[in-house]
């Protein structure tokens, strides 16, 4: 699920003095040497919103005027990569962003090109209409199957059910689907004219799943409680850190409604789960999940969600915002990091829920929290590389 890089790449990203390489490709042409200002790339775990970023390019030679002459190039794919140049084997780069041209702006000798990622197409298409809704009610479905139909049949993306799929990270989708399959989580759905992105957002929220774009493919993940820490951030890699804990995040009694009747507009089932130790400590804090576009078809599926929420949100959890060096370049959303900060006095694991990579300066900001985290062992690749011992 992470970026596939060599140990040499990891070594470079942790180095105190390195020469990172940035690459901007439009279509099949490398325009890296024209970039005046590299963009900042932002991403969160479940917003399902198109990510737009802008690259400023030197246009003194009118190198980018070809786009004015042939606007069909706006459908070309642009890619932003970052990495290092190995002395013998050449560039080793990871793709941070891929998207298509959305806007062109020429001002004096600067061409600004704004790109938008894979979610954009899903915001441009609708699923069903009020008079002719799209329904998945003929049988019980895994939520992952509904997401697949929504993205492919109505979002217009690749239907290839293998890792060759160009739009969907098939392996992650399969893993995600297997989670629902193992827990026998089943749903039905009914869409009457909402945007495909909105439908996908409903699925993400209703199943508490991460859906985001990685390496130009839509990726899925449902966080599980136990995991390992892939990287340690400490005083030697943290430039700044803030920690917050918000009591309003706590949910210790969760109601989940299901068995929705489209005609009578009524949920005929509501289950709940209560985290009694949390109630004793923090008082009763209730919340409800119900949706008229997607709903659970049995109490087992609904209680699975209720328990998931009261388990993850039963106690106030820490959220950190970590300004880090390029040591975090290979880390992706959903992975866990160990954060040790002497000034605030924390040394614990967090899950990455969002990230902001400033390609211009080489700073990375992680938004991470402990809502879906239980203490795992620390698998620090630098430790593993040097002494091959897990600590």
């Amino acid at each position: 699920m992470t970026h596939d890089v060599t140990s040499w790449f990891i070594e470079q990203s942790e180095s105190y003095a390195s020469e990172p390489v940035r690459k901007f490709t439009l279509g099949s042409s490398d325009y890296s040497d024209y970039v005046i200002q590299w963009p900042t790339f932002r991403q969160t775990w479940n917003s399902i919103r198109p990510s737009t970023l802008s690259v400023k390019l030197a246009n003194e030679e009118q190198a980018f005027n070809f786009m004015i002459d042939d606007l069909t190039v706006m459908s070309n794919e642009a890619t932003l990569e970052m990495g290092y140049t190995h002395p013998t084997s050449g560039d080793e780069l990871i793709t941070l962003y891929s998207g298509k041209i959305e806007r062109l702006k020429y001002h004096n000798n600067v061409a600004s090109i704004a790109f938008v990622d894979k979610f954009k197409q899903l915001t441009e298409r609708v699923i069903g209409t009020r008079s002719d809704p799209v329904t998945y009610q003929s049988s019980d479905y895994l939520p992952a199957d509904i997401a697949w139909y929504v993205i492919t049949s109505y979002g217009g993306y690749d239907t290839t059910a293998s890792s060759a799929n160009t739009d969907i990270d098939y392996e992650s989708w399969l893993d995600w689907s297997n989670v629902f399959s193992a827990d026998a989580v089943l749903v039905k759905s009914h869409f009457k004219g909402i945007k495909v992105a909105e439908a996908l957002k409903k699925i993400a929220d209703y199943t508490d799943s991460a859906i985001y774009v990685h390496d130009n493919k839509i990726r899925f993940k449902r966080f599980s409680l136990s995991d390992s820490n892939q990287t340690t951030f400490d005083n030697d890699s943290i430039m700044g850190l803030s920690l917050s804990v918000d009591n309003r995040d706590v949910v210790n009694k969760m109601y989940v409604s299901g068995l929705y009747d489209v005609d009578s507009r009524y949920w005929s089932m509501t289950v709940n789960d209560e985290n009694s130790s949390s109630v004793n400590s923090f008082g009763l804090k209730e919340d409800t999940i119900r949706d008229n576009s997607i709903w659970y078809v049995n109490s087992g599926s609904a209680i699975n969600m209720a328990q998931r929420k009261t388990g993850a949100l039963g106690v106030p959890f820490g959220k950190v915002s970590v300004d880090a060096t390029l040591k975090g370049l290979v880390r992706v959303i959903g992975e866990t990091i160990s954060v040790t900060d002497m000034s605030i006095g924390i040394s614990e694991g967090y899950r990455i829920m969002g990230q902001k990579i400033n390609m211009d300066s080489g700073k990375i900001e992680f938004e991470a929290d402990r809502s879906y985290f239980s203490e795992g062992f620390i698998l620090d690749t630098s430790t593993l590389d040097s002494v091959s011992v897990l600590t």
């Binding site: 105190y16 003095a17 390195s18 020469e19 990172p20 940035r22 400490d234 005083n235 030697d236 890699s237 943290i238 430039m239 700044g240 850190l241 060096t325 390029l326 900060d341 002497m342 000034s343 211009d360 300066s361 080489g362 700073k363």
Partner: protein, 119 residues
């Protein structure tokens, strides 16, 4: 004193004999980050070279060629004649005409400074 050559190709260029004020410099494009422990990280994204090449007693032919390079922002090559393996791609980056001043009492000899930067 070392002799240099500023040229477009093997048949178009000028030999340059700079004065003692010749200067070769460079700049790095990099970002430095200071982490909590006090350690400094430096990310070097690139670099470029600068040359300040003062010339004097050059004739009008030399002046015309160099000034035309400046005028057209020509892509040039710059090297030390005795060290032809080290060639730098440069452009003349003077804000004003590089060469244009007489050397008294001559009216056919000129003085100026050619500012070069790699690209």
């Amino acid at each position: 004193m070392a002799q240099f050559r500023l040229f477009v190709d093997s048949s178009n260029g000028v030999d340059v004999d700079p004065t003692w004020e010749y200067l070769e410099a460079g700049s790095k494009i990099e970002d430095r980050h200071r982490v909590r422990s006090g350690r400094s990280y430096v990310y070097k994204w690139g670099d470029f070279k600068r040359f300040e090449v003062p010339v004097s007693f050059v004739n009008s032919n030399f002046k015309s060629i160099v000034n035309s390079y400046w005028d057209s922002n020509a892509d040039l090559l710059f090297m030390e004649v005795d060290n032809p393996s080290s060639v730098t791609s440069v452009r003349i980056v003077n804000e004003d005409l590089p060469i244009g001043q007489f050397i008294a009492p001559y009216t056919n000899q000129f003085i100026g400074v050619i500012e070069l930067e790699s690209y």
